[in-house]
């Protein structure tokens, strides 16, 4: 073969490749074309960010799973999630399976009046006995239905429980060892296990396999679960409350953010959780709806009180003042979060905004470091994860903090681990050389502050991973917990929030807005001040 034809052929093959490329591009251009209306069949499909845990509400951990479980199961006391965050920073309590309750004057005895005429999805009637059976599963080591996992998840709710007594079919008496002002609010929570009530018949039939046969009282009934593919719920037409308009809900785990966006655009799903911050603007421009709230989420750092640098209050204050929370919220995270200006989230009771401590002030930060004899800075380590539930973009956020701290001379080293490894390391408590540990967490109950900072719960015995101990704080929180008057309790919680800020024991960074993106034809979805949602009012308008 001579060179001539070869060159011609090469040119030809190049032309062929070019033609293929143009064909590909023109097909891509069609991507902009509009398509026919989506056929929803009145079933609401949600793309969720990860595979859910077990459908046993008392055992399951994590927000992702409670968002599903709370459609099937209900606790005694609930939160009203039909009010958007803008109208209620803390969701008001409302009766759940207990129609009403009385609290004794000494705050020790709660009498729950169980709702009449409610049946579980398997037909079992709801009564006081059924509720007692459930509580014993989470608390009574001597009962046959006791579950170590359920007890481990709900230990902070039942911590002060003394005794249980079924008075009659619809009356249950719960006696506490000491007053617990946040007891009712804690009954509504579900991020770390919930107290939602399961059919006792189903529990007796399936035992610990209940998660594969979940039977509750909620607005939706369990239909089918195919792991990794879907969890199907159907409307409960016999629901005691507002019967939903939609025929059912499908939760589809799609761990990849691009896959979620694609599924929404193609009409395969009607709503996506945790959209990629970069894609939100485009979706909104295309006509999709953005729903955001102020859930009790806080992305924060704890200081190691045993470390030679971070044990100094001036150093901790300097670090708090050096961090550019606004910059992180706007530039790095594109407005998908709010800068955190309090120890707890805005949606937690007892919230205190403290701009003086959490708004950037580099001059003051430098002065504080100099006053601690560290004008030339120092080196310390921050531990965080690479991923995980509620963690947003931990590595990039840690790097942002690293740049902020470099401006006052602190050389921050970052150590990251994959989420589950990190959770184990974090729970052990900070080791030598580690100055700060990051976590994202929070509850609408200010009791969360007790869980995170009480000296009784220092790691490894609890989640106070920085070994923070302040007797004045413990006293304030104890007063808040045992207060009989809610206003009194609130006063003490505010005091506790202020003490933690004055001690600069934590570094609150940002509060997530928990964005969801919905198809244009969806209405009735509300972002309330919680990490989870109520789907009874959702409508598909087609």
């Amino acid at each position: 073969m001579t060179h001539g034809p070869r060159r011609t052929q090469r040119r030809l093959s190049l032309r062929l490749v070019a033609v293929c490329f143009i064909a590909l591009l023109s097909v891509s251009a069609l991507a902009g074309c509009s398509r026919g209306p989506v056929r929803t069949g009145n079933v609401f499909v949600i793309a969720i960010e990860s595979e859910a845990d077990v459908l046993d509400p008392q055992v399951a951990g994590g927000w992702v799973t409670w968002r599903i479980n709370r459609q099937i199961f209900e606790p005694l006391v609930d939160e009203d999630l039909t009010i958007p965050s803008a109208e209620a920073t803390v969701p008001p309590l409302r009766p759940g399976l207990a129609q009403s309750w009385d609290v004794s004057k000494d705050g020790l005895e709660y009498t729950f009046h169980i709702r009449h005429g409610v049946r579980f999805h398997d037909g079992t009637p709801l009564n006081a006995e059924a509720v007692e059976y459930n509580i014993r599963r989470m608390w009574d080591k001597n009962s046959p239905q006791y579950s170590v996992k359920a007890a481990g998840q709900t230990n902070f709710v039942w911590k002060f429980l003394d005794s249980l007594q079924t008075i009659d079919d619809y009356t249950l008496k719960v006696r506490l060892k000491q007053p617990f002002s946040e007891f009712l609010r804690m009954l509504t929570q579900g991020g770390n296990g919930s107290t939602a009530i399961i059919s006792p018949t189903a529990l007796k039939t399936y035992g610990e396999d209940i998660a594969d046969h979940p039977v509750g009282t909620g607005p939706f009934k369990f239909k089918e679960r195919i792991r990794g593919e879907r969890i199907d719920l159907v409307r409960n037409d016999d629901y005691w409350g507002t019967v939903p308009s939609i025929d059912g809900v499908v939760f589809r785990p799609l761990p990849d953010p691009s896959a979620r966006t694609a599924a929404l655009r193609s009409g395969d799903v009607d709503m996506i959780a945790v959209p990629n911050p970069d894609s939100i603007d485009n979706l909104v421009n295309e006509g999709y709806q953005l729903s955001e709230g102020i859930p009790p989420h806080i992305w924060y750092l704890s200081f190691n009180m045993k470390d030679k640098y971070t044990s100094k209050r001036a150093v901790r204050e300097a670090i708090n003042l050096a961090i550019d929370r606004d910059g992180m919220a706007q530039d790095l995270l594109r407005g998908s979060v709010n800068p955190a200006l309090g120890v707890q989230a805005l949606s937690a009771g007892g919230y205190v905004e403290r701009k003086d401590a959490y708004q950037r002030n580099l001059d003051k930060a430098r002065q504080l470091l100099a006053s601690a004899g560290l004008a030339n800075g120092f080196e310390t380590t921050l531990i965080t994860s690479t991923d995980g539930s509620g963690q947003i973009m931990p590595a990039q956020m840690a790097e942002f903090i690293q740049q902020n701290l470099a401006e006052i001379g602190i050389n921050l080293k970052i150590q990251t681990q994959e989420w589950i490894s990190y959770l184990g390391v974090w729970a052990r408590g900070m080791q030598d050389g580690v100055g700060m540990a990051q976590m994202s967490w929070g509850m609408t109950s200010p009791y969360w502050l007790y869980i995170a900072t009480s000296s009784e719960l220092q790691a490894p015995n609890g989640p106070n991973v920085g070994y923070y101990a302040n007797p004045a704080l413990d006293k304030a929180m104890d007063n808040a917990i045992t207060a009989l008057d809610p206003k009194e309790a609130d006063k003490f919680w505010r005091q506790a929030n202020n003490i933690v800020t004055d001690d600069s024991a934590l570094v609150p960074i940002v509060n997530d807005k928990a964005p969801y993106v919905l198809a244009p034809y969806v209405s009735g979805f509300v972002s309330a001040s919680e990490e989870w949602y109520d789907l009874t009012h959702v409508r598909l308008n087609q």
């Binding site: 097909v27 845990d53 481990g152 230990n155 499908v250 694609a262 395969d268």
Partner: protein, 319 residues
Amino acid sequence: MTRVIGSRLFSTILVLFGVSLIVFLLLQMVPGDPAVTILGSGATAETVAALRTELGLDRSLPVQFFDYLGGLLHGDLGRSLTINTPVTDIMLPRFANTLILTAAALVLCILVAVPLGVIAAHKQYSIFDRASMMISLAGASVPVYWFGLLLIGIFAIGLGWLPTSGMYNPRFPGGVGDLSAHLILPAIAAALVPLAVIARMTRSVMIDILQQDYIRTLRASGLATTSVLWRHALRNALPPIVNIIGLQVGYLLGGVVFVEVVFGWPGLGQQLYTSITQRDIPVVQAGVLFIALAFVIINLFADVAVGLLDPRTRRKVGS
């Protein structure tokens, strides 16, 4: 032949034992405690200890491992630590889903790659040859993840011909038709790299064979080109091609993990990823065992097939 298969099966057992031991030890070495995973950030030392006892994680490592092996010999893969369900119940449907995807991708590979390679070899240095080899080189270098998103962008979102993800329509789950529609894009994405490898391999083997004397003799005796190409040359080229296909199945089984993530395909890879991040040791072990088993068995089939295709080896193993 029986002896070959017998010794292969014996070594399979050794391989599986080694694989489960290594996976077990690896998972012990990485930090992270399943009990802490289950109880989350609110866990106290006391509740973690109670749960560790219940899950049997407080026993010594050899006891845990041999207990697991004992169960395995009885066909019991254990229970998942996190979801308290028998591992077989979780993994068998997942494995079946992965096999569906892998098989579809493999069929696609063979149907496209082998003819492509043969024609390219026949028309060596032609436009067809250059274009197809260039495209296959590009295909082998394209990240599967990106290619998957491109397919979704064009065929699912843009043209609306096919669904973006999953195995069945979430609203109106259907039968085989629904499944096939969901299978096309992920199968194409998964097939891309092995397809390119097999096509290039077929081409080079065929070029080699087409230069052999007996091919020239066949041509000289006036046999039609199609017959020379497909009946004689390809037949002699098959043993190495079948071998490479067998090896590509291993690549496919590993590579579909990414495809499963992009297309939300509920397969083994996705489950493995979830279970690894939760330190759910029994599930991870079962997943790795399934993959190892599939790999060994498919390569055994490939070896047997090569033996049957090549009269020389047939005689050798037969004697």
